[in-house]
Subunit: 273 residues, 3 copies
Amino acid sequence: MNKEVLRAVADARNKAPLVGSWTNFVTINLVANAQLATGGRAAMCFLPDEAYPLSTISQAIYINVGTMNSVSREALTLAAKSSHEFGKPWVLDPVAAGLGDTRNALIADLKQYKPSVVRGNASEIITLANMWGLQTETKGEVSGVDSTDSVESAHDSAKSIAKYTGGAVCVSGAVDYITGAKTSFQVGGGSALLKGITGAGCSLAGVIAVYAAVASPLIAALAGSLAFKYASEEAAKIAKGSFSFQTAFIDCLSLLDEAAAAGGFFRKPRDTI
Amino acid sequence: MNKEVLRAVADARNKAPLVGSWTNFVTINLVANAQLATGGRAAMCFLPDEAYPLSTISQAIYINVGTMNSVSREALTLAAKSSHEFGKPWVLDPVAAGLGDTRNALIADLKQYKPSVVRGNASEIITLANMWGLQTETKGEVSGVDSTDSVESAHDSAKSIAKYTGGAVCVSGAVDYITGAKTSFQVGGGSALLKGITGAGCSLAGVIAVYAAVASPLIAALAGSLAFKYASEEAAKIAKGSFSFQTAFIDCLSLLDEAAAAGGFFRKPRDTI
Amino acid sequence: MNKEVLRAVADARNKAPLVGSWTNFVTINLVANAQLATGGRAAMCFLPDEAYPLSTISQAIYINVGTMNSVSREALTLAAKSSHEFGKPWVLDPVAAGLGDTRNALIADLKQYKPSVVRGNASEIITLANMWGLQTETKGEVSGVDSTDSVESAHDSAKSIAKYTGGAVCVSGAVDYITGAKTSFQVGGGSALLKGITGAGCSLAGVIAVYAAVASPLIAALAGSLAFKYASEEAAKIAKGSFSFQTAFIDCLSLLDEAAAAGGFFRKPRDTI
């Protein structure tokens, strides 16, 4: 498993896959820079008529429902539909699931196109499993973009989503939980300073899309999680506050290669791989 | 007064209020990061159907009319209306007031919902008082996002707005002018380097919204102004150019706690509190 | 020629021209900060009803088609039309030309308003010349926002555009190619780290718009290209990764004055002026 993660990190840098993104206005710049830092190429769109062209030229697609606009429902549905039809991996980030009728209608629409990877915080993953009717017990609570539930409380929801999609789910938090239909992992470590900047989750999902272009959904989710835990720890060593942390964090991502990953990811037993 | 400002700074960090924002595409990331840096949680929306849900879960709302889109008039009006109905404090940033029919129609709509705090540059405050029919003498000139009027020339306009809303108004500039219906303050100091980055005014208003979630409008405006003057002075000491200043500025905001505020804000008589 | 470039650099800082921009959501913040760093003032809009007002108060207009929304075609066409009518210089950045029906229809609409400067990568310039019917041989390939063609292969396309508009064209890449209807230049040097962040091309075009407010199209394109090559070289000396490079790059732009330009731009024969 370690070997496959390292190969994904190296392949992203060597193959420079183009990842088309449909993402929110708040963190769009950070997402693009994180994707470039890990070796991918980034292109962002918003209009329905760009969905099929973007899926055609991209090796993976990232769909983040963070800030909806008046054409988002149509555009993002077409983006997922075309990815599904073309067999391109796509990553869903169900930001603030449960908030607003348009977002909820869109999230319902997306179910049929089975995302290769879903990345969310605990509350979002629980809400998504509820909205998609994948768990019998209703739990969780809508609370904007921040989680009010523990990662552990979302394990079952994550598994139910992975079983439905046949792909992988990453619940990010203090200890990330990554699961496929059968296997699951926990990735600890990382720096709490990631919570002090906006876009840590969005850019993690964007980077997972880069890795999904060159690896399986489960390996892609693992590689993204490990890269973020590692880079955030390194960045915390030199940060003076929240914004110099952000700078150092993207710097560390941009310096991540197979050798650094081998030395850094697995230097100590931070995970349960 | 000092004590109340310090309490606002501490409360924001301890209570981590959720602030829902309707803001422009240019500086939306900086606004969110400034809000996080001072202890708040940030959520940004754009669609009309999200207005009531966002006001429901937020402790304060920030409305910035900097970049209008095709649903902004409806969405931002509902955001203000719902805040007003729910008794939630809300902060208005009338960016580029006077420019474009849609923006002007929106600003007229918002009058009835009496913002708790208005934050603008001198030209924007003068234009707003004119548009809302709160002063007899018409003055000021539309000039995009930058002020062509002195802060002093906007004192009367600011007072007329505060008298109408019953809240506070902050005219930011070389010397910030903060006024309630009766009392007013001036806050000097700060670094001119703030003018070299985009979003200083927007993020100030966004941070005032964080403080407005835990303090009165007047104290919130004062706390925001003092925090920005202080953090910009500290950042200027280590900045090498405009962007390392921005990094250091958010860093300094993120390090601001009650103790630092007590030591920093009131170390020297920079203001007239 | 050197003298005119230096004058443009100095005039931008002394006259602080207001540049109105219609640009994409990904890099809008970097564009504004780059424009401020070189001495300009920035204002960004999206709605059709703001086109004439913004062209009225601005000294130059920048139009970037990177992320289209549902009113972009109307708004950007009016922005170009009003600039043309008012005789204000305007800069076109045909990002991802060829991708999506709306973008392509808009680009076709813009032809009649003859941009003062076009700035794009090689693939975009080739595609634009094809779309505007300015070259007999069809070549080039749509590939999102990154170029798959060499700068050299776009020389003829660039010249054909410059002959049609009567303005200037800048093909940016490893060696920038800047051409008017008659004269052309190549500018080498610069750092490859610019490719590791998003928005290098967008912000170059935004800065060219600042210089176009105070100089001829050809001199503006040259000044922008030289400033970016120089600042990126300086920034590369102190960068630790992709994001500290971005910080240092904007820092260096913000420190650029006539003296630095004289010492930096022409210290060594990096170009063919």
